[in-house]
């Protein structure tokens, strides 16, 4: 009892007595419950009740087979491993489970891939500021391709309108909506730059985000705890957080998904641009690159000496944002 007194900050007499158990005056204030027989029994019974409830729902005669299967799949899904620790077989089972859940809960047929990075590939991206006219076709294509939440209008890409002669982001306007290109303005897009030395992956406390072999920085959405530390660490506002459960109208869902890419996320999970990992690992361009009517976006393999991105790096005067931070983004800007 004396030991309890020394450690416990609130020193409430009722708490010290332990008589009121978990419902006493101090239990919630520091997250410290006074542990005694009564409190321990209470939490054990609670846990047993929950387990019994889950077990009952599996064997209940009232719940439909569909509900039982849904709950079983959700239960298994909850206890799966971090994607990096899964074997190929486990990955296959995971995506099959997710596809089945989508079929049961929403009636949608998904095709979730777990395509590995292609050997000898390091993706790079170039943005031609001289060509961007602020059409935002890229944003529209990105939102549709990546199944982003429509309710919070999540967008990975931001297009800034800047006055000619002033390249500051502080005075740029991202919320423009008028005929483009406007007189005296230039346009510049930003998104996750897939840094080669990413600060965001270093700060994740649970290892839910990492850089893949082909250079794409990915998030295991179900492993993410939503602490947003990565969002704080990113110097470019590349990361997005789901404050609400993402809402995508059924007829707009892109069913060609990748586990680390455009599958629909959960409330409380981080997400970001993945250079359309479900497309780029199949040899296609990201949706933004294909959507731009001006050809302002260039994408390709940095390790291929004949690629367009290598031509741009070798022949154009390229720069990156906040280069002094040594994040080594793989997204270059140039003007011609």
């Amino acid at each position: 009892m004396a030991e309890h007194d020394k450690k416990h900050p609130c020193n409430d007499s009722a708490c010290r007595r332990g008589g009121s158990g978990g419902a006493g005056g101090c239990s919630g204030s520091m997250g410290h419950k006074p542990m005694n027989r009564r409190a321990a029994l209470k939490s054990m019974i609670k846990g047993a009740a929950v387990t019994a409830g889950v077990a009952c729902s599996h064997t209940s005669v009232l719940a439909s087979d569909k509900d039982k299967e849904t709950r079983k799949l959700e239960f298994e899904n909850y206890f799966k491993k971090n994607y990096r620790l899964m074997t190929d077989e486990e990955r296959r089972q995971t995506v099959e489970r997710l596809e089945r859940l989508a079929r049961l809960k929403d009636g949608i047929n998904l095709n979730i891939k777990t395509t590995d990075p292609v050997d000898g590939v390091l993706f790079g991206y170039a943005f031609n500021i001289g060509k961007c006219d602020g059409y935002m076709d890229c944003i529209k294509a990105c939102v549709e391709e990546n199944n982003q939440d429509r309710e919070s209008r999540m967008q990975y890409i931001k297009i800034f309108e800047k006055g000619k002669g002033d390249m500051r982001f502080e005075s740029a306007e991202a919320g423009f909506y008028h005929e483009v290109p406007a007189e005296g303005k230039l346009y510049m897009g930003v998104q996750c730059f897939q840094c080669e030395n990413p600060p965001c992956t270093k700060v994740c406390p649970v290892g839910a985000t990492w850089k893949e072999k082909d250079g794409i920085v990915v998030v295991d959405y179900d492993w993410c705890i939503g602490c947003r530390y990565c969002q704080a660490a990113c110097p470019y506002f590349g990361r997005r957080f789901n404050w609400n459960t993402p809402v995508v109208p059924k007829d707009e869902v892109n069913t060609n998904q990748h586990y680390l890419g455009n599958r629909i996320r959960n409330k409380g999970s981080m997400e970001k641009c993945t250079f359309c990992i479900s497309r780029s690992r199949d040899g296609k361009n990201p949706a933004c690159v294909d959507a731009c009517p001006n050809g302002a976006r260039i994408f390709g393999n940095l390790l291929d000496p004949n690629s367009e991105i290598r031509f741009v790096l070798a022949n154009k005067k390229v720069f990156r944002l906040k280069e002094e931070l040594d994040t080594e983004p793989k997204f270059w800007y140039f003007m011609d």
């Binding site: 059409y135 919070s152 423009f176 260039i298 291929d304 690629s307």
Partner: protein
């Protein structure tokens, strides 16, 4: 006693902080250094032609030494091709009503360009002509446009200008000039954006971002 502990802790933190900054394995290698230190990839198990099953490809010599790239042929999709279909027998009956006089030429000034600048004057023309009268295939309009727009042509050849078809994997299939630019009125008009950023909503009191 307390002071001694504090100083020890400070010394430990300081030494940890100073040594932690230096990463002997990675140092501060830039992307350019990394690219040049990694062996070049010459082929990947992916191909852009998988995405373009219907296209006929026309070869174009590249600035990358012996490498070449492709454009998709136009002539198999043009309706009024070859020109000799109509212009060899005289302009009598045609299936379609898209007569050439509907074409508005807003390309450079009238002192510089007329229809004949690119199309030549001979009625038997089966294609385009260069400024010196050399015939140019419709599938290779880049040779025609490059006469004046040589900077863009050089960029297009390397890949810094224009769009790519079929994805990033080799072989490179580029969009020809006329794939994006209408040769008769090449400048793009202003238009409204496809969507708007969330900042617009925030300003007008919409959902918070």
């Amino acid at each position: 006693m307390m002071q001694k502990i504090l100083w020890t802790v400070l010394a430990i933190l300081l030494s940890a902080g100073l040594t932690a900054c230096y990463d002997p394995e990675h140092g501060h290698q830039t992307n350019i250094e990394k690219i040049h230190a990694t062996p070049a990839t010459t082929s990947v198990p992916l191909s852009s032609t998988d995405q373009l099953p219907q296209a006929t490809l026309v070869e174009v010599a590249s600035v990358h030494g012996t490498d070449h790239f492709y454009v998709t042929a136009r002539t198999d999709k043009m309706t009024n091709y070859p020109c000799a279909r109509c212009h060899a027998e005289g302009v009598l009956e045609r299936e379609q009503k898209d007569a050439h006089w509907k074409v508005k030429l807003k390309h450079a000034s009238a002192d510089t360009m007329t229809c004949a600048t690119c199309h030549g004057t001979s009625k038997r023309q089966t294609g385009l002509v260069s400024l010196s009268g050399k015939p140019i295939d419709f599938n290779r309009v880049d040779q025609l446009c490059a006469q004046c727009h040589f900077q863009q042509a050089k960029d297009w050849n390397g890949g810094a200008h224009g769009k790519r078809q079929g994805g990033w994997a080799p072989p490179r299939v580029a969009t020809a000039c006329t794939g994006c630019h209408d040769p008769h009125t090449p400048s793009f008009p202003t238009r409204w954006p496809s969507t708007f950023g969330i900042r617009t909503l925030e300003r007008e009191g919409g959902s918070h971002g």
